[in-house]
Subunit: 415 residues, 2 copies
């Protein structure tokens, strides 16, 4: 019998309690021992809930109870999640968290404490909700050198982009609808500006490289500037726009970024729509593999927490090698990253053909009926080269009294 | 240091040796100890290979060497793989295999011996090549009740069907081409008749139910009768034909089958093309998840073997709970399984409208320009009901001197 506590009885925490209760026997079989929920820490009382008799308001009760060997953190945020988790690990308790902000900001230190204390710090639910991507990286792809990991890691933005794609709606319309449905927060910044995806790709990059990744080093661009016009061109091109978090090894560095990217129908992440997440891994032996499922939601996320609890209970006496060390991973300057660019330009291609040839060389062009603009797809080039040529183009347009570039999106498209 | 032996230096066995050599350090980090290859058992010599000095021809050398704690079986087939693996487990050695025939036929017994001896019998590479589906089932979805598992589990047939779909070619043409390219065996029966998929879905079903599944209980239909006409209709319907192995829980029974199935663009397995495999899991908490990657090939499969070796080395002193017990899982009679049917019928719908209404009720109809036939998509019904109505329809067509049903395929399509 292993005694556990849950810190934070919100959506995910209550989901964990529910699964522990409903799947008691299956969990005991997997864990090799029963897992009994002894405390639920929350500021609130939940008199009508099944855990009413186990609610405590004082963290010390959990920290000082030596019977409690396993603590689940589903509070979110850094304070008090960080000091509480640290104290639990220091007290020799296993910790399982769903908190990506905590793992991205303090993972290095918490993993080291877990190693020192011979316990486990697991965080499967912090990335990809119920998709078992963390465990796949440390259990299944152990013999692999992973060259690239790219994911649709945020369900809210993927829902918005999918709706814009399918219905031709504007960003603002769909965001409002998503908020009304509860798919997006009233303050949606963390999702739509890409910050959530940034923390998740930072965690995945650290898993892959074995080194600490500072999420602030990762170039992050959100989806607020994506318009229905972009999707009209995308349709024309047999493509769609997805918010991707990606990182690629390049020598000793990694090129990492969060940005909306135009991808084609043959891309394995193209079919990942709505609130689903998908994660693509490219590695030396296995090649391309992809993992798809519910990236959020009460029970999918809670299920990932429970899988971690089972693994902790299976390995009560042993720290499983997972995560990364204290060495810092160098993230390459985004200006050196290479891709193609989809660029929308005011006016007609005919009047600007020379200028475009001088700046971007040979390009593919796209025209929408009735639009006062056209679009080009450049060859692959570095961000700094793109910026240089785009500045020249914009400048010359302005000089001749007109408008220049209206939009630029990164594109991963073959010819 | 853990000493290992490989039995069978064919495609996969030599891939395993290659990865052990090339990724030595990464593997040692993951395993917590170095894995050293001591013997390679094969009837042949490989004087120019990197393992020339470790080739042995006599199994006794491996069996009786107490230093060897980990044996990889990549011979394929049942004889001598079965007695050799059994002897290794009985000698207290961990065994990792890529051999689906062995696992499907003798998994129950071999898993039990491993438990009794406190060692591990792992077989990640036996299903889905490099896709980590077995480990996902026993590590990641431990708290889940899995209701359905459906997969494209055979790369050869998926390659053939993808080519037929995209190029409008006939089965025989594409099979010949696949044989010339080495994607299909000279004797392709195990693949194209579905036997390979059958063993794999039997293993997955046993993993999910925790009970032994006799693969001979699973209804199996191959792809040899699929024609270019089927794909012309599929295109019309926004669908494609895939060879699916699937099993669904239904009370205490499972409905399992291997058959070509018409699926639509919104099906998560629709985009799995060419030699790739994909496996869809539906479970109570996580909902739908999908795992995609190289289902075959030297290095992807060898990589899955190596991941198992790492897990065995990590758990040298401990049997990890995996697999199934000796109780037999009841497989439901295929006649009770329900789905929709795509049926091609000679003649015109107009002349047969009454007859079709009397047999299948309301149906969707499809007509190809210039064809002397039409197709219908029935409502969902049991196999036995379908057979009864199809017999009536065929009978009446023949009575009036004509031809009746030309093709029937199962369909998983929404209206």
């Amino acid at each position: 019998m292993m005694y556990a506590a849950i810190m934070g009885y919100g959506t995910i925490g209550s989901g964990v309690a529910q699964i522990l209760e409903e799947s008691r026997e299956r969990i005991a079989n997997g864990a090799g021992q029963e897992i009994a929920l002894k405390y639920v820490l929350d500021l609130r009382d939940f008199p009508d809930s099944p855990v009413a008799d186990r609610i405590v308001h004082d963290f010390q009760v959990i920290e000082s109870d030596e019977q409690v060997k396993l603590v689940v953190e589903t509070m979110g945020g850094l304070n008090p999640a960080y000091p509480f988790v640290k104290a639990c690990l220091n007290a020799g308790k296993h910790v399982v968290t769903s908190n990506k902000a905590l793992v991205a900001a303090h993972g290095t230190e918490l993993l080291q404490i877990a190693r020192d204390k011979g316990v486990n710090f697991f965080f499967e639910a912090s990335v990809g909700g119920g998709i078992p991507i963390i465990r796949t990286l440390y259990r299944c792809l152990r013999g692999e050198e992973i060259q690239e990991i790219t994911g649709i890691l945020n369900g809210t933005t993927n829902y918005i982009l999918t709706k814009m794609d399918r219905e031709g709606a504007s960003f603002d319309e769909v965001l409002k609808e998503a908020q009304d449905l509860g798919y997006a927060e009233r303050n949606p910044e963390a999702d739509v500006e890409g910050h959530d995806t940034c923390r998740k790709i930072a965690i995945l990059t650290a898993m892959v490289t074995g080194k600490e990744v500072n999420y602030e080093d990762i170039y992050t661009e959100g989806i607020t500037k994506i318009t229905d016009m972009d999707f009209r061109y995308a349709k024309e091109m047999g493509a769609s726009v997805k918010l991707l978090g990606s990182s690629r090894r390049k020598g000793g560095e990694v090129c990492a970024r969060v940005a909306p990217v135009m991808i084609g129908k043959d891309h394995p992440l193209y079919a990942v729509s709505g609130v689903y997440n998908g994660i693509l891994v490219k590695s030396d032996m296995l090649g391309v593999s992809m993992y798809y499922g519910s990236g959020a939601g009460k029970l999918p996320t809670a299920s990932a927490v429970v899988a971690d609890m089972i693994e902790a209970a299976q390995n009560e006496q042993m720290n499983i090698p997972i995560g990364w060390g204290e060495q810092r991973q160098k993230v390459a300057d985004i200006k050196t990253a290479e891709c193609r660019y989809f660029v929308r330009i005011a006016g007609t291609f005919k009047e600007k053909a020379d200028l475009i040839r001088r700046t971007f060389g040979e390009v593919r062009t796209f025209v929408l009926e009735g639009a006062d603009e056209f679009a080009i797809l450049t060859r692959k080039m570095s961000e700094s080269e793109y910026e240089k040529q785009a500045a020249v183009l914009d400048d010359e347009c302005r000089k001749s009294g007109g408008e220049g570039i209206r939009q630029r999106l990164r594109a991963e498209l073959e010819d």
